[in-house]
Symmetry: C2
Subunit: 382 residues, 2 copies
DNA sequence: CGCCATTTAGCAAACGTTTGCCAAAAACCA
DNA sequence: TGGTTTTTGGCAAACGTTTGCTAAATGGCG
């Protein structure tokens, strides 16, 4: 407007005008969509009335409200989320932080988790943004920018530690955070977890009852929460049965879960090298179990006659391996829903400060890969 | 609201006071974080200088810039994304629309796709939001609200049609959109696809060269783009070899891909019922192939001696089935990257209007599930 | 030292909503 | 009908940035 007026004012001095323009970016006149003001004009009311009619219907006459929403529909009006978010100081976006090695355990559970969470969130009017937490600094920065920049309203952190960058830490946010799969209730983060330890203990107990006394444990990344818990559960069962830690051989542990299949292959090689063969194998993920099984079968061992096998995750594919694989199924759907419920509770009632812990139990699905130990056959030659 | 007010009215005069308050919400004094104004004050410059120093470093003295970014770091300042977005009229969020039956083909490819896309986006400073496109109306509304409400800056639509709701359609947005997996370049949407048709044709040709003349085709959802393409490819190969459509039996087609395993199981039953047995099976997803294989093996058939098998998707698990499964691998990583590249190109240079089509070829991974047809053994009894 | 060209910094107006406050209208009661 | 309560609508000020314009500062040159 001002520049046009200037142009008219001094028609001869075009240069001047040009110079002025150098500093000027186009104001992006392209937002196109109808504004609340357009709706108000069409409905013959004030903007504020439109706002109230759309967001807080109780506060406006029904007849007016109808007129307004008709106008809105006619124009195809959609309120601008950023303007709203800026004004009310909150967004309706939830961020889920996924570990860099995305394929934790069986990759199959990630889509289920994401879908379950997204559905639950949608029902409450929230949207889902995903963030990858790699080991590099930039990914942590991105996440913290999202958190501190007001883009997100709450965080679900999936089997990871809270990211930190410089003097900013996710823990310092006022944002509600829920930890999924990783128990961080000690650090006063509400957590939704499954009973890794107990589930593995129970599976080990069953193997012991079937007569097994020598175990191969195929480990996840050393130090990983899930690996520690699961191995701990196996050891507990052994101890209860009066068996020492000598009765279990560990394999794997060097790789991230992303390489589950490779870990299983290497475990099969380890197995082949052992003088004293275990009769039962506990794998910390289905991927490992499947590739392990494939390799040892190829080497000539029979499952479950020579070797029983049980793993963790509950991927659907386990039902269709040969033989069908016993696995500890994680109730991903329920866990996702529980996490969302917890998060929304924190969002909507800011006064909740107690750190809850919700344990959704995993359950062992018994299939043909588990059988009684071969009596008196504790030593096999490779 | 109205009824509550009536209740108060009857109660007495306290109502007045309460009613006044009813209209008042706390102004949410809790944004907490440091503002650009705080940084400016600490650095001893004006707000606008801070803004320019942070976003457009060339426009401000280096010494000043250093002072400002030191101040920003000291305060842990993070710019508010919604305020920025509102002002500049654009966000930095990309939305990916996933089909409601999320487990298209092998669910394994979804996490890979998502991770690949998210990584590429991160590098360009964008964030990824996921949206589920279910069959219900609310999910379409949610998606359109995101698109029209200015929340997102671009859209990647994964193997789905554009959602429509009332008089709003994603097609009407000014937003850049890229279609992934589904070829919509005819509808002037830039698309990144793989060569479904040609890949299946080639695999079928190889089977024919191995002496196979009777096929079982395990179909995806009837009418689905991928199913049409893949079946078409198989038919083309048959026709080229002078074989009529009679030489292929279709199974499945009724379910969504989500039930891939079940489709395979039912295909095995169909197979058992056939008088004239096919000698080769083409499955449209790895899930189907795996469950099919498991069942027919259990019924006593041998793979690949009695029956050759090839499927689509390239899930890692195929390498470890018994026997290892031949599969057509989709280059998901490259496809994701290509989609992002295309999208960012459209975002940053708004003048591109030509609809591109990028074909990233799939490749057949040959494993033991494919072998020569048993000579002269076209009919087996069940 | 003075004049002009070029940087650099600051003011204030946007961006599109929501909402406190107040005025107007409506409804009710006597 | 007049006064009082209740409801409804409108004005304008936020929310935290970016940015056009202008003022000030800096530097170059005669």
């Amino acid at each position: 407007m001002a520049s046009i007026a200037l142009g008219f004012e001094a028609a001869g001095i075009q240069t001047k005008d040009r110079n002025v323009k150098k500093n000027k970016d186009v104001p992006a006149e392209e937002h196109s969509g109808p504004l609340m003001a357009d709706v108000a004009r069409l409905a013959g009311v004030a903007i504020s009335t439109v706002s109230r009619a759309l967001a807080n219907p109780g506060r406006v006459n029904e007849k007016t409200r109808a007129k307004i929403s008709a106008a809105a529909k006619q124009l195809g009006y959609t309120p601008n989320a950023m303007a709203r978010g800026l004004r009310v100081g909150k967004s309706n976006i939830i961020m889920i932080i996924l570990p860099g090695s995305l394929h934790y355990g069986a990759s199959q559970i990630i889509p289920q988790i994401l879908q379950g969470i997204n559905r639950s969130l949608s029902q409450h009017g929230y949207h889902l943004m995903i963030a990858n937490l790699d080991r590099d600094e930039t990914s942590e920065q991105h996440i913290l920018d999202l958190a501190f920049g007001g883009t997100v309203r709450g965080v679900i952190i999936f089997s990871s530690q809270l990211p930190v960058d410089g003097n900013r830490s996710l823990a310092d946010t006022a944002l509600p955070i829920v930890s999924l799969l990783l128990d961080m209730s000690e650090s006063s983060l509400p957590s939704v977890v499954t009973n890794d330890r107990q589930a593995v203990r129970q599976a080990t107990q069953e193997l012991i009852e079937l007569g097994h006394t020598r175990f191969l444990y195929i480990a996840g990344p050393t130090g990983n929460y899930h690996d520690v818990e699961r191995y701990g559960g196996a050891l507990e069962a052994l101890r209860e049965a009066g068996l020492s830690e000598q009765h279990v051989v560990r394999s794997g542990g060097a790789h991230s879960y992303q390489l589950g299949f490779r870990t299983g292959v290497e475990a099969a090689d380890d197995f082949a090298r052992l003088e004293v063969k275990p009769t039962a194998v506990i794998a910390t993920s289905d991927d490992m179990a499947i590739s392990f099984m494939s390799r040892v079968q190829r080497m000539g061992w029979n499952i479950p006659t020579d070797l029983s096998l049980v793993s963790f995750d509950g991927s659907p594919v386990c039902e269709f391996s040969t033989p069908p694989l016993s696995t500890i199924e994680q109730p991903v759907e329920e866990m996702g829903q529980a996490a969302v419920a917890l998060l929304i509770e924190r969002i909507e009632q800011a006064h909740i400060r107690t750190a809850t812990r919700i344990v959704v139990p995993s359950r062992l699905i018994r299939r043909e890969s588990m059988a009684a130990a071969k009596p008196g056959l504790n030593i096999l030659r490779s």
